[in-house]
């Protein structure tokens, strides 16, 4: 499991490979906060290669969303599989995040 980051214009894209859970959530948080510290403001997290997320992974997304907004930035999500959509719906986090069906739509939405 790992996190791959790259730039698409002004947008920092993060691919979550495998899972986002208690054992690796801090790694994602630190990577995104480092980019925020460097001055990046637009972030897209792509879950097309993600199997599952637990409550601590969801919590990190909430925390990052707050920190990015506080700096005048934006965080968007894309490519949730059916299980992840259910998880976001159960926790009502689908109302907190802007979630796109595809990476392209998410990139176009900034």
């Amino acid at each position: 499991m790992s996190f791959q980051m790259h730039r698409e214009g002004e947008i920092t894209v993060v691919d979550v490979e495998g899972q986002l859970i208690v054992g690796n959530r801090q790694e994602l948080k630190q990577k995104v906060l480092d980019e925020l510290e460097r001055g990046e403001r637009k972030f897209l997290i792509d879950f097309s290669q993600t199997g599952y997320i637990d409550s601590s992974g969801l919590g990190v997304l909430v925390s990052l969303s707050k920190k990015i907004r506080e700096q005048g930035g934006e965080l968007r999500l894309a490519n949730l599989n059916d299980d992840l959509k259910t998880l976001f719906e159960l926790t009502k986090l689908d109302t907190l995040f802007q979630i796109a069906e595809t990476r392209e739509r998410a990139l176009d939405s900034f």
């Binding site: 899972q19 859970i21 208690v22 054992g23 199997g51 599952y52 997320i53 637990d54 409550s55 601590s56 969801l58 919590g59 990190v60 909430v62 925390s63 707050k66 059916d82 299980d83 259910t86 998880l87 159960l90 926790t91 009502k92 986090l93 109302t95 907190l96």
Partner: protein, 151 residues
């Protein structure tokens, strides 16, 4: 560990898994994979395996490792899972201080809860399982039992 169910032991054809892991979050995915594999073998639905069992068990194990045992090197988490064609019953036992499952639960759906980083673990376990209970009368630590009937 307690018996796998209040009303019966493992039936014929049941898969029984007994594991003990160190209090290390890196050990959690392997346990989850092993239980999910058995649920798949007993023809639990795709969603039950990939979402309900996987996430609920992750939460129970993370609670045991991080909150129960506080990731102490000298404490372990014990897991007993019994799966048959009717249901999964899995007990997760830590060696930590006793806790009240209901008192620990928060409502993550309130406007304040929605913005909190924590507080979704027990909520998710309860939404994804048919039953989540802390077993009474455990002399040391806590046992949280998750039950999911096969749809």
């Amino acid at each position: 560990m307690p018996a796998p169910g209040p009303d019966r032991g493992p039936g014929a054809g049941a898969s029984v898994l007994d594991l003990s892991i160190p209090s290390d979050v890196a050990e959690i995915p392997g346990v989850v994979d092993a239980v999910v594999e058995r649920c798949t073998a007993h023809r639990f639905s795709r969603q039950a395996c990939s979402l309900n069992v996987r996430v609920a068990l992750l939460e129970a194990l993370a609670n045991a490792v991080v909150k129960g045992n506080r990731q102490a090197d000298d404490k372990r988490v014990h897991v007993r899972a019994v799966v048959d064609d009717a249901r999964l019953v899995v007990d997760v036992q830590d060696e930590g201080e006793p806790f009240d499952l209901d008192a620990s639960a928060q409502d993550p759906l309130t406007p304040e809860g929605l913005l909190r980083e924590d507080g979704r673990g027990i909520f998710l376990m309860r939404r994804l399982m048919d039953a989540v209970e802390r077993l009474p009368g455990i002399p040391r630590g806590n046992v949280v039992r998750l039950t999911l009937r096969r749809a």
